[in-house]
Symmetry: C2
Subunit: 211 residues, 2 copies
């Protein structure tokens, strides 16, 4: 449920001029880049100001503190991550679409030389035990991602393309899990092998339920 605070923030955002919106975006993008590279703890508000080329008063005009900035970064990264997986992610309702989505993810990581990992997943370690609000936003982000995967698998199930003993919800969660673990291990190892091994094992498992 939206609190009146949330509502006020939303109204405020709607009223931002396009110039104001551009400044806000520049701040969020700078914060996202820095946090993705070196973590939240080693990114100071001053670092963000410098990279975004804004003054302290400009930054604090949009964000009351670093925690609020972190939450904006989470929302921004979620949008970017889900967008990057289109058009496949929103229509993962065939074995071909699942394979194309897998290929796209591998291609993105290959191009990036596996650097920076998952922009959302890499925030989990620093946030989960210390920032309850940010943790619960991360939960929502992953839930959105999972729902996209799950919807396609449920459609396949409902069309009878997955056997009745399969559990589309659990398969979707397993796929997101393999993806997260794969991005993490590929980031640290700087090679796509873990990501490919994880996704391929779960995709093969899903294919084993084909009718």
């Amino acid at each position: 449920m939206k609190t009146s605070d949330d509502l006020n923030k939303t109204l405020y955002k709607l009223k931002l001029t396009s110039k104001g919106q551009a400044t806000r975006n520049r701040i969020v993008e700078a914060a996202a880049d820095l946090m993705s590279e070196r973590g939240i703890g080693r990114t100071s508000v001053e670092d963000v100001q410098r990279l975004a080329k804004v003054s302290a008063s400009q930054l604090y005009h949009y964000f009351s503190d670093k925690k609020e900035l972190v939450r904006a970064v989470i929302a921004h990264q979620t949008e970017a991550v889900l967008d990057a997986q289109q058009p496949y992610l929103s229509k993962l309702d065939s074995f071909e679409a699942l394979q194309s989505w897998r290929d796209l993810i591998i291609e993105i990581q290959t191009q990036r030389q596996c650097k920076t990992g998952c922009p959302i997943g890499s925030l989990v370690g620093e946030i989960s035990e210390t920032e309850e609000e940010a943790r619960s936003e991360l939960v929502s982000c992953f839930a959105q991602w999972e729902a996209e995967i799950s919807r396609g698998l449920h459609e396949m199930y409902n069309r009878g393309e997955l056997r009745s003993e399969s559990n589309p919800a659990s398969l979707a969660l397993a796929l997101l899990t393999a993806l997260q673990g794969g991005l993490l291990l590929s980031q640290v190892r700087r090679e796509v092998a873990p990501l490919a091994a994880g996704l391929d094992a779960v995709l093969d498992h899903i294919r084993s339920f084909a009718t």
Copy 2:
């Protein structure tokens, strides 16, 4: 290859008195606890001193800087993580052993209410892009873990319990990937469902190669 610097450090460590070793351990454990909870960036050397109840000069007697302390934390956490999975991890050479290992991991996370995630995996995001030496130590840690899983699967393969078209090395990597992704998603969601879904999907996939 060991450098003479490494060798000197090893010799130095061997010469530590048991009291010195206890102090060093106390520092590493304190650092590990803090970094696991709030991340590396938000753990200062002063925080570690306070928790370990040592002076700055005591801490700097054992560790020349925070980076060296981080590397000691990685080694310490790796040992702890691998130890916690015994006796199963070192003998994952049957479907029963794989299942018992899976049950143990789920049990550990359930007891912990999924807090703190993987003590090694949760360091990946903060380290990979900024600390090359620590990143390469993390690679070694995961390689040790993967080797333990891989050895068991290779034994099953060599005894003809896994079909010849299976790839034990790739299955081992997929299992570690599901484990890492599962620990990450379970940490953020505070429930074991993602970990169970990921591990069970890959274990079912491995079972599909049973002869």
